[in-house]
Subunit: 350 residues, 2 copies
DNA sequence: TTGTAGGCGTTATCAA
DNA sequence: TTGATAACGCCTACAA
């Protein structure tokens, strides 16, 4: 089935069929309906290779906003962006990646705005959950499609979200904890900031499943680390002294390396468990040395790659995303599968 | 960069450049080198959309051989095949899927042969590891590219393999077991048949890490279930009586549902752990009800989808696979992440 | 050994 | 409101 055959069957020209397919109007209603009927009956859909070939001439400008790379999680996200940019370059896509240097509202605003000023066709972003940012995203989304990743803005008009279900990830951590704890005691949760939803939600998820624990556990109030390994090191060192019945350190976000180092230095890594999120290079080392017991990954590469793919399909091929929430997997890692690099995206597939 | 610009820069015609790109010969060596130099310097690579558009006229016939669907693991593999077939249909690919009705050598041979007789351009298969099959795959691979999935034939001339590193998966199961066991005792491993390498390797992997276990454990000799849930049910029921210090049932392959049912019926699911491989619909139920503690998935969908993508790129676009081993992830599941469907392939991405 | 030309299916432009 | 025509970049006969 080609657009030519449809045109022949309908007794019109290709141009008219094209106008119907893309809802461009300027077609007599009765002809429109006739063509739509034929398309439905034949199950015709445009040849993507041909569309892509033709569209690649036009060009598509996408922008992506990336939090500071001091959190090395975003290094893998960046790889996803770059890999996608590389792949879609031949389809006329240019991706402008803007790296923030600090995690403040103002900079986010200004950067995003300067990107938009360049005349973007679509935007990919992740940001702090504040009412101001929600408004701003709504404002952007009026002009161009916006895809959020890692951190969602559910009550905004963004096109869709790519990232983890953080509550469920926290529940999964709690599930692992319940399975592994051998003695009663206290659990110390660490987060970066109270206003990072991802982190507080993970703690909420963990808390929700603790009643299933076969031994008595107590979840201490979450301690902030300001996304700093130094702070986390000190926090853990202090609590190791202060809280004598500590059985587990749960890093819901921020400073996992500092926390692990502190636990290792204390010489009590065998006796106290440690759980965290994300699979950073240092985390792999800590898994192998037995300091960290479990970590839960969230496919960072895909969080960079997929938004680009989604926006390409939406803008260039006119295909709306199939889902509003593209949840990445809850990827449990421990010593023996710390090194396995699963296949995260069929990048080369045309 | 287009083939036209390269031709202009080299002072030759498009045709000559095309011959160089695809190593078709019939080009004067000095001209060949000149063109190759320009291609290298400009970083030119052919536009995939244009290639695809042109090639889709020719058509590509692929074949896939699928073990009996009585093992519902292969239902997900089949979905992968179908999804890929669907996607690549517009690029002129037709995929013939042959489902075996029993797992015997003769049938595999005859089916594969009849497929080849139809004039295939590439073949995807999974089979029992016997010397005969290795010879046969070598024979096939002389004619057309062959991709193995799930079960590899490392000493054959197949193009590449898509599937799990079974030893590492077994080690991961052992790792989980060591983390979770609370009392000493015996572990009962179940396998389908001794000559299914995947299963015995998993047990080998598990055995290798047991010395790290903080409590005393003993690994019993593996028991065969002939890939039958009925047999597995009886085996487990018997051993639950016979082996009074049983702490864990490890289903390395075959009959996991029967085994779980037996454990549930015995009323001792709380006291005895159960580990298995693959995430079948019934396994999810058993995870949620607490009968099965952990299962290790291996991305079955991808094991169907990826081989098709690989063969398309190889045959239609002339791109050799980047790796010989495409290891799927070691996908740990327990109650709280049993339901999560990660994103397994960017299928719609052009 | 090299060059030429036609077409893959779609889309954009222009003329009717 | 429609139809005709010219690309998009590559591949492949066929001609030279």
């Amino acid at each position: 089935m080609t657009i030519n055959e449809i045109a022949r069957m309908a007794g019109v020209s290709r141009g008219t069929v094209d106008r119907v397919i893309h809802n461009r109007g300027k077609v007599k209603p009765e002809i429109q309906q006739r063509i739509e009927k034929i398309i439905r009956e034949t199950g015709f859909s445009p040849n993507l290779a041909a569309s892509a070939l033709k569209r690649s001439a036009n060009g598509l400008r996408l922008g992506a906003i990336l939090p500071p790379l001091t959190n090395s999680f975003y290094v893998d996200v960046l790889k996803g962006f770059q890999s996608a940019a590389d792949h879609y370059a031949q389809y006329g896509v240019t991706l402008s990646i803007v790296q923030l240097t600090e995690l403040t509202l103002d900079e986010q605003y200004c950067t995003a705005w300067s990107l938009l000023d360049q005349g973007l066709d679509g935007l990919i972003l992740s940001a702090l959950n504040t009412p101001f940012m929600t408004d701003y995203i709504n404002h952007l989304a009026d002009e161009i499609p916006v895809v959020t990743y890692n951190t969602d803005f559910t009550n905004s008009s963004r096109l869709c979200f790519v990232g983890q279900d953080h509550i469920q990830a926290g529940r999964t951590a709690g599930n692992l904890l319940c399975n592994s704890l051998r003695r009663p005691g206290s659990i110390l949760p660490l987060i970066s900031y109270e206003n990072i939803l991802a982190h507080t939600r993970r703690v909420d998820g963990l808390r929700a499943v603790l009643p299933r624990c076969p031994v008595d556990v107590r979840l201490l109030p979450a301690v902030e680390t300001a996304e700093s390994d130094e702070v986390a090191y000190d926090v853990v060192t202090n609590w190791l002294h202060k809280q004598t019945d500590l059985t587990c350190i749960y890093v819901a976000g921020g400073g996992q390396i500092g926390a692990a180092d502190a636990l290792a230095d204390s010489g009590r890594a065998d006796e106290i468990m440690m759980f965290c999120h994300d699979l950073l290079p240092k985390t792999i080392e800590h898994l192998k040395s037995g300091v960290v017991d479990y970590t839960i990954g969230q496919q960072p590469f895909l969080q960079g790659y997929l938004p680009v793919a989604i926006l390409y399909e939406y803008l260039a091929l006119g295909q709306k995303p199939a889902k509003e929430f593209y949840y990445t997997s809850i990827d449990i890692r421990l010593r023996e599968n710390a090194d396995v690099n699963g296949i995260s995206a069929i990048t080369g597939a045309l």
